[in-house]
């Protein structure tokens, strides 16, 4: 009788010990399960834009205690290389794959496999032709275009002649930025004489702008991406029109910044690349750890003029700092 009671007491103690150890193990286990994310950008970090995106992504990973792996293709045209990287990423079975697709359709089939493997798919900067992603973080190009239009509207009158240097006719970013620009101009929209295309090439941009400047007495020139802006600026400077016409650029490069400082550009619209990378990874983590997350985030853009380019917040965007 007494023996049985002692046995019961001892058994109870052991059951309690086992139970507590087990629950501790569960707590420990849940703690070690950090989200594992692979990010495949458009290109190996080389330009300021992609450096900023990657820096933002890494900061988000650190802050959310996620494991982040970044594998980038050699250049922005390398669709096949990017597809291979995506397939490799699927094999590693991460919780989420974050991609900045190099092609609207060229990556689609491979990206569908990401979803088939039950892995979360998040886009940064650009999308695919079909909506298969769990979330996208990009600059709202329409809003960015509007910022250009609103700035132009303040500095022109009904006689101003307006020209547009776009990049690729079928590109979604080009059409959205152009639409935003046109919408913001309001009544002045009719004063847009012509849209020329640089095909994202400095030389073409330069030549097309030269033709445009010869054809019309341009007062306002809106450039819709970095190549277009720098190509057009070279033409404007060559024509001796630097600072005499209102030129609005897009994105930033050292050359573009110097042109802004020199007064060739009156203003440039820049994307918040760091925020884009940061929000991209943060959203990917949320898609893994939470039930709800924002599926479409505008990482924002910023209009910078020569006067405010050295403001603390603007110089931070124009001259992203990476330690050295």
């Amino acid at each position: 009788m007494e023996k049985r009671k002692i046995l019961i007491v001892i058994a109870a103690v052991f059951v309690a010990v086992a139970g507590i150890l087990f629950s501790i193990k569960i707590i420990m286990n849940t703690r070690t399960e950090l989200p594992y994310i692979i990010y495949i950008p458009k290109v190996k970090a080389g330009t300021d834009f992609w450096l900023s995106v990657v820096a933002g992504a890494e900061m988000a990973a650190k802050e959310n205690e996620a494991t982040l792996e970044i594998n980038a293709p050699e250049d922005e045209m390398d669709v096949e290389g990017q597809n291979k990287l995506i397939l490799k990423a699927i094999e590693k079975k991460p919780d989420a794959i974050v991609v900045s697709p190099n092609s609207l359709v060229g990556n689609l089939e491979v990206l569908k496999k990401v979803k088939e493997a039950g892995i979360k798919l998040v886009y940064i900067d650009s999308a695919s032709s079909e909506h298969i992603q769990d979330a996208i973080i990009a600059t709202d190009n329409y809003q960015a275009g509007r910022k250009m239009g609103e700035y132009a509207k303040k500095n022109i009158d009904e006689n101003s002649v307006i020209g547009i240097v776009s990049h690729v006719k079928t590109s979604s970013t080009a059409t959205e930025r152009e639409k935003g620009f046109r919408d913001a101009l309001g009544d002045y929209e009719s004063q847009i004489t012509e849209v020329v295309y640089s095909n994202s090439d400095y030389e073409t941009g330069y030549q097309e702008t030269m033709k445009l400047l010869e054809k019309y007495d341009i007062d306002v020139l809106a450039c819709l991406n970095e190549n277009s802006a720098v190509g057009a600026a070279r033409a404007v400077v060559e024509k001796g029109l630097g600072g005499k016409i209102i030129m609005i650029g897009f994105d930033n490069s050292t050359e573009e910044i110097k042109l802004l400082e020199a007064g060739v550009f009156s203003a440039i619209v820049v994307q918040r690349a760091y925020s884009m990378g940061y929000l991209g990874i943060e959203t990917a983590v949320k898609s893994v750890t939470q039930d709800t997350w924002s599926v479409n985030i505008d990482s924002g853009s910023l209009l910078i003029t020569k006067d405010n380019m050295y403001n603390p917040e603007n110089q931070e965007v124009l001259f992203p700092f990476y330690g050295n």
Partner: protein
């Protein structure tokens, strides 16, 4: 109900259980108190460790920055009083002379830049637009409006100023993140500040200093100046774009030390440098510290459990050691209780209460055993003396009767018969005396009875006849001495003596089952049930005639046990049969 259950649970039958339980309860409460104290202290300990750690790191950052800045201040102080610098900016010397002075200053600047890698630019700018930055060949950015820059304007007021972090664009094609220290240069001829000396400290120095600090997974360090401008922040861009927020106001108004932010999760540890006016802020997440704390707490819990298990095991072992001798003692007592005194109890070497108890019990058993043995010996002695007394009783009783007969015959002058009877008596007496053994064979008893009957037949003449019919197997059976004769005597005196006509005594001996039966049968008067009862009764009035039967029965029982002895059957007017029943031993 609950109370009843507890009382029930506490009513253990064994000391062992009680000890185990009391031990366990005691240790559980001690461990729980210990765990509770550690648990509650855990938070304070973790926080104070974190505070000390972060505060030290902050101060270390401050010291490093202070040392850089004070070095630059020394350089600035040196350069604004440098005669070469003043001559270069303010003296109206010809170009070749100016070139020589410029060469001297350039070499000074390059020495400074080479010894200190953290100096990015070092230069002087005159109010008139003349300048020298790093060396004579560096061209100023033509688009820069340095006159509008804070570091230039403030220095022109004759003060030494330190800027926040910014992109320095004064040199053409060079955009570098720096912190600028500047000071006004006085033209001694006019006594006015007419030039500015500036030195750019590489921003990466500060950023890498802050980044190298490892607070915790999510923790970070940032620096703000006196006006609330961010000098360094790992999430600077996110703050400017509004993705993240940092309550700078709170830091500027706080008086230093550490405090919890309004959202309740971040803990700020601030340290302000009096030299630069900058405040270094270390940020830790409370949730992360709680995790650490939980780990510590889990450790306490595990420790407590281990202690409990250990304590329980020890309690069982201790109580076993304590109760084992008690249990053994209990077992021995049970043996004794059931009547077995032949137990081996070891002399306990333990000198505690239980050991002494065991020793006392052992001595007690020993004494009881002695008493029993004494008692047994006494009983034996008593029995032997009783038998002797019985044997002694027979002889005079018989003698008395026989001598009576001889006297009676002598009175009748039957000399022949007197001789015959006296010789028979003499034989009888010899037989009874000759053997000292208590047991004799049945045939000897029969012989003895024959002598006796010879005597009695002479006394009663034709009135007494006898037959003896004993099986050959039983002749050698041992039997207590002098048992037949008193029964035969009894049969004569109580059966035949008062009978009209001839009396017959038959003696039979045979085996019945495992017993030997010897019957003495008479055809005399017979006896009533009460008479039979009375001849067996041990007590009662002293009657010499009864003594014979009663002592035969008790002697038989003393020798052979309660199952054996004497049995009487009798019918009034028909006769009596006395049966001796003894075990048949071969």
């Amino acid at each position: 109900m609950k109370n009843g259950l507890i009382t029930k649970l506490l009513k253990f039958k064994s000391i062992r259980t009680t000890i185990v339980l009391s031990f366990t309860v005691l240790i559980v409460s001690v461990v729980l108190i210990f765990a509770a104290i550690s648990y509650s202290r855990g938070e304070k300990v973790v926080f104070s460790i974190a505070t000390d750690y972060v505060t030290q790191l902050n101060e270390q950052i401050n010291r490093n920055i202070d040392s850089y800045i004070s070095y630059m201040e020394n350089v600035a102080q040196l350069e604004v009083n440098n005669e070469d610098v003043k001559e270069y900016l303010f003296a109206y010397v010809n170009d070749s002379k100016k070139m020589i002075i410029g060469e001297t200053i350039s070499s000074q600047f390059s020495v400074l830049r080479e010894t200190r890698q953290d100096i990015h630019n070092i230069g002087i700018i005159g109010k008139d637009g003349s300048y020298l930055i790093n060396d004579r060949y560096v061209v100023m950015n033509e688009n820069v409006e340095y006159q509008k820059m804070d570091w230039y304007q403030e220095a022109l007021k004759g003060r030494m100023v330190l800027t926040t972090s910014h992109v320095q664009n004064i040199v053409a094609d060079d955009y570098q993140w720096v912190v600028t220290l500047s000071n006004g240069i006085i033209n001694q001829k006019t006594g006015e500040v007419e030039g500015v000396f500036f030195i750019d400290l590489n921003y990466s120095l500060i950023s890498s200093l802050c980044e190298s600090i490892d607070l915790s997974n999510r923790g970070y360090v940032f620096i703000v100046d006196e006006l609330g401008n961010i000098i360094y922040h790992p999430k600077q861009q996110l703050i400017y774009s509004g993705v993240r927020e940092e309550n700078i106001e709170e830091i500027l108004t706080s008086k230093g030390g550490s405090y919890l932010t309004a959202d309740g999760d971040k803990i700020y540890f601030t340290a302000k440098s009096e030299n630069t006016g900058w405040t270094v802020v270390g940020v830790n997440y409370k949730s992360e510290m709680m995790e650490q704390m939980n780990e510590t707490r889990q450790m306490y819990v595990v420790l407590a459990i281990l202690l409990l298990v250990l304590a329980t095991v020890l309690a069982v072992i201790f109580s076993n050691a304590l109760t084992k001798p008690i249990k053994e003692l209990r077992k021995s007592m049970k043996e004794v209780e059931s009547g077995n005194f032949d137990i081996q109890l070891e002399d306990s070497d333990s000198m505690n209460e239980i050991g002494r108890l065991q020793n006392s019990f052992r001595i007690m058993i020993y004494k009881i055993r002695q008493l029993i043995e004494n008692n047994k010996a006494e009983q034996e002695a008593k029995r032997k003396s009783e038998i002797r007394a019985l044997q002694a009783q027979i002889n005079p009783h018989f003698l008395y009767n026989t001598l009576d007969s001889i006297i009676w015959m002598a009175e009748g002058s039957n000399t022949e018969e007197v001789i015959q009877m006296t010789s028979a008596l003499s034989k009888l007496l010899r037989k009874s005396i000759s053997n000292e053994d208590e047991l004799v064979t049945l045939d000897r008893e029969i012989d003895y009875v024959k002598e006796y009957l010879t005597i009695q037949k002479m006394r009663y003449q034709d009135k007494l006849e006898y037959e003896i019919d004993v099986d050959i197997e039983v002749l050698r059976v041992p039997i207590a001495k002098l048992v037949l004769q008193p029964l035969v005597e009894n049969a004569i005196y109580h059966g035949i003596k008062y009978k009209e006509g001839k009396g017959l005594i038959q003696i039979k001996g045979f085996i019945l089952g495992s017993d030997v039966v010897v019957q003495i049968k008479d055809n005399g008067m017979g006896m009533s049930e009460e008479k039979i009862q009375s001849i067996f009764a041990q007590t009662g009035p002293a009657d010499s005639k009864r003594v014979g039967v009663q002592n035969v029965h008790s002697r038989l029982q003393l020798y052979y046990g309660k199952d054996y002895g004497l049995r009487y059957e009798s019918k009034i007017g028909e006769g009596t049969t006395a049966s001796i029943i003894i075990p048949y031993l071969q």
